[in-house]
């Protein structure tokens, strides 16, 4: 079966720590050679105050609060430059205290109509139990599955990342009629020794594989869910 490609896809990197949001302005990224002048000049600044900075450029969305840095790629933009932006920012801010990092991918897949859409929900969460207890048509709204023991589809091994966990979220898509939303989260706690450097090393080495692996997981879920019983 050929690989499905999400019709809408974006990626995000979350760094949890103690941050100074006011630093993270488009001009700062230009000064550090991480954004082009053109992209920074056309950035839409949502808010920049001591507690929060949020802006969007053609390629990225950035939100920084006192305890969280979030950078997202714009829908269907190339995910690769997002890594450079975050690696660049935190290689300059090398003394920021951090406690965790998440590498995420967000994907919306179209399905072949309403029947196929229901079949995915029913196979992931059979409704027998719920129909005995709830009135009406109970439907799957959000499903989370988490493991700290690695994945069989390649790409993520427990022994390589002690304390890390892998979470998959499945929901009906809010963007595509009869579509499915699948999100993956690779969560890495910071190590005691050089926490920021260790997390950035993971980001540098894992990012491509993290994004490819998320697509493999999504294909695995949808192919299984749409297969004959």
């Amino acid at each position: 079966m050929s690989d499905r490609i999400p019709h809408i896809s974006s990626s995000s990197i979350v760094v949890v720590g103690s941050l100074n949001p006011k630093i993270f302005q488009p001009e700062w990224f230009v000064r550090q050679h991480l954004l082009s002048t053109e992209e920074a000049e056309s950035a839409q600044i949502r808010v920049i105050v001591p507690e929060i900075a949020q802006f969007e450029t053609e390629q990225f969305g950035v939100q920084v609060t006192l305890d969280r840095f979030i950078a997202t790629s714009k829908p269907n933009a190339n995910y690769a430059p997002l890594r450079d932006l975050v690696l660049g920012a935190f290689s300059i801010l090398e003394h920021v205290p951090v406690s965790a990092m998440g590498l995420n991918r967000h994907m919306h897949f179209p399905l072949d109509g309403e029947d196929a859409w229901h079949k995915v929900g029913d196979k992931l969460v059979p409704k027998d139990l719920w129909m005995d207890a709830l009135e009406g048509s109970a439907g799957l709204r959000s499903l989370f599955i988490t493991t700290a023991r690695g994945t069989k589809t390649g790409g993520w091994r427990e022994k390589e990342f002690p304390g890390a966990c892998y979470t998959v979220r499945v929901e009906p898509s809010s963007q595509i009629p009869f579509g499915v939303y699948i999100e993956t989260n690779e969560h890495y706690p910071a190590s005691a020794q050089e926490p920021l450097r260790a997390l950035m090393k993971i980001l540098g080495e894992r990012w491509d594989e993290c994004q490819n692996h998320a697509l493999r997981i999504a294909n695995h879920i949808l192919n299984w869910a749409e297969s004959a019983d």
């Binding site: 949890v16 969305g61 190339n78 859409w117 439907g139 979470t167 969560h187």
Partner: protein
């Protein structure tokens, strides 16, 4: 202790913004795998109940039996949503192939690069020549020996639904080496040099 989602996971999809499911009509089937379309599509979910939880009951009585009203929270901090993976009324780019290139030769009209397949890392490296006119004006100054770029082959789906195959080159923007980082690298090189000399 209740399980909590990792703090590095975002909050899922954006708030429902479209009428994506209205076109599904009011069709009804006996069992609904994902909820009842038209009445409970993802675009029409009512907001999840949100309650502000106080750590103490605001109405309590002291030892003498008098009513004591504890302060009730007067404000709550809500984190602004981060837009992720929404259609956003923009063309859709489907990336079919992604390479990472390193510039090995720069000529007047073109440049040569070694390419590493990021979509399928098992594929061997290749070499290709690119016309400089394929590089956007704001990236031209980045075309130097050793610089890195992404080469994307994909399809753009326009708002009108047209499919266009594209090839796009985007140069990587990496932080400049700081003098501190250079000093540190020099120190490490000196340390390694001494180690090698001592082992001879």
């Amino acid at each position: 202790m209740p399980y909590e989602l990792p703090t590095t996971s975002l909050t899922g999809q954006n708030q429902p913004t479209s009428s994506a499911f209205r076109q599904s009509g009011e069709a009804t089937v006996p069992i609904f795998g994902f909820g009842e379309p038209g009445r409970l599509g993802a675009s029409q979910f009512p907001p999840l109940p949100e309650t502000v939880k106080s750590s103490e009951d605001p109405l309590t009585f002291d030892q003498a039996g008098h009513l004591r009203v504890r302060p009730v929270p007067t404000r709550v901090s809500l984190r602004p949503s981060v837009p992720v993976a929404s259609r956003d009324h923009a063309p859709i780019l489907l990336t079919r192939q992604l390479w990472e290139g390193t510039v090995t030769e720069v000529h007047k009209e073109d440049f040569v690069a070694r390419l590493n397949d990021r979509t399928n890392p098992n594929n061997p490296d290749e070499e290709a020549t690119f016309d400089l006119s394929e590089v956007s004006a704001e990236d031209r100054e980045l075309v130097v020996l050793g610089s890195a770029f992404y080469w994307i082959i994909g399809t753009v789906i326009t708002l009108a639904g047209k499919h266009m195959n594209i090839s796009m080159i985007q140069f990587r923007r990496l932080p400049m080496w700081t003098s501190r980082a250079l000093d540190r690298a020099a120190e490490r090189a000196e340390h390694l040099r001494r180690l090698f000399q001592a082992s001879e």
